[in-house]
Symmetry: C2
Subunit: 157 residues, 2 copies
DNA sequence: TGCAAATAGTTAGCAAGCTACATATGAGAT
DNA sequence: ATCTCATATGTAGCTTGCTAACTATTTGCA
């Protein structure tokens, strides 16, 4: 048990590193789009609307991997900013279709540009292969996380 | 510009994947330690105290890579739970030394165990090499993020 | 037809994270 | 000795994210 191969220093630090770097990314992004009145979460939502057109709230929650109430509040904010509108869906009076407003179009176009540039800058000195590996690792991890979410083992105590 | 090598689908998705997986990790962890009245952030803080002994608040902020006010509130919560105490530092009446309470020792020991198990479970099917690569990628990214934070280029508009 | 269960969205309440600003104390220079 | 600047912590206020519990529809089946 002294040198358990499953317990390298790497493994010990990885999960922390992951959540810290995710947080830092969000903070940087928030700072960049702040003067436009946006945040990472709002930008992600707007981008989806731009790229996939009007979308139902439930679908948004699925795609953005957020809980429904989180989406509700993001939309409340964006609606107040006049960037999106909730439209009635005919055939289902429960549902709402979310769409970008005319007024938001330029902002969102600019945002898309900004994000593309940021991406290039941040990932500039990372090799494609390494990125692919990292991507795979994250995907695996998420898979395990979701498996555990469904069947939490011993942590029930 | 049609097939810009700097703009693969991987690159397009990576930053989102990172922040999403970080979030999911946090959510899972929070759910696991919830019945103990803990969260990921609080656990990280307690773990540091256990492994490095009593620490000043400023030092905690540095080590955990959190802003000072965030640490203040984590400590407020943990103090209310009776898990940590803020002690005076003699020689500097501004400073406070944060220490785990006697009462918290068993909780924290248990927590350490729990985290070790979780780590093994989550990373079980990931090769050491891949993990190392992923780790390097994250480190690089954080480096870029911090460089940009200091010198935000074109995003000044 | 009419009632039960599923689905769409919302409300309430909590913790974490940030920025901006405030307070108290210490240290260094004149 | 004092005055200024730096350091250590704290307060206020905002957004994101979650879970739990609610309302309004719709759907499916008896």
């Amino acid at each position: 048990m002294a040198t358990d191969p499953a317990e390298s220093a790497l493994r010990a630090a990885f999960l922390t590193d992951l959540s810290v770097s995710g947080r830092k990314l969000r903070t940087l992004f928030d700072a960049i789009v702040r003067k436009r009145g946006l945040t990472l979460a709002r930008a992600r939502l707007l981008l989806h609307l731009r790229q996939h057109g009007a979308t139902r709230q439930g679908e948004l929650a699925l795609v953005l991997e957020l809980e429904h109430p989180t989406v509700v509040r993001l939309l409340d904010g964006l609606e107040k900013q006049g960037l999106i509108a909730r439209h009635a869906v005919d055939g289902d009076r429960r549902a709402k279709l979310v769409a970008i407003t005319e007024a938001a179009a330029p902002t969102v176009a600019e945002l898309e540009q900004l994000i593309a540039e940021l991406r290039v800058e941040l990932l500039a000195d990372i090799a494609e292969d390494d990125l692919a590996t990292a991507s795979r690792v994250l995907a695996r991890l998420v898979q395990s996380i979701e498996a555990m979410g469904a069947a939490p083992r011993s942590h029930e105590r």
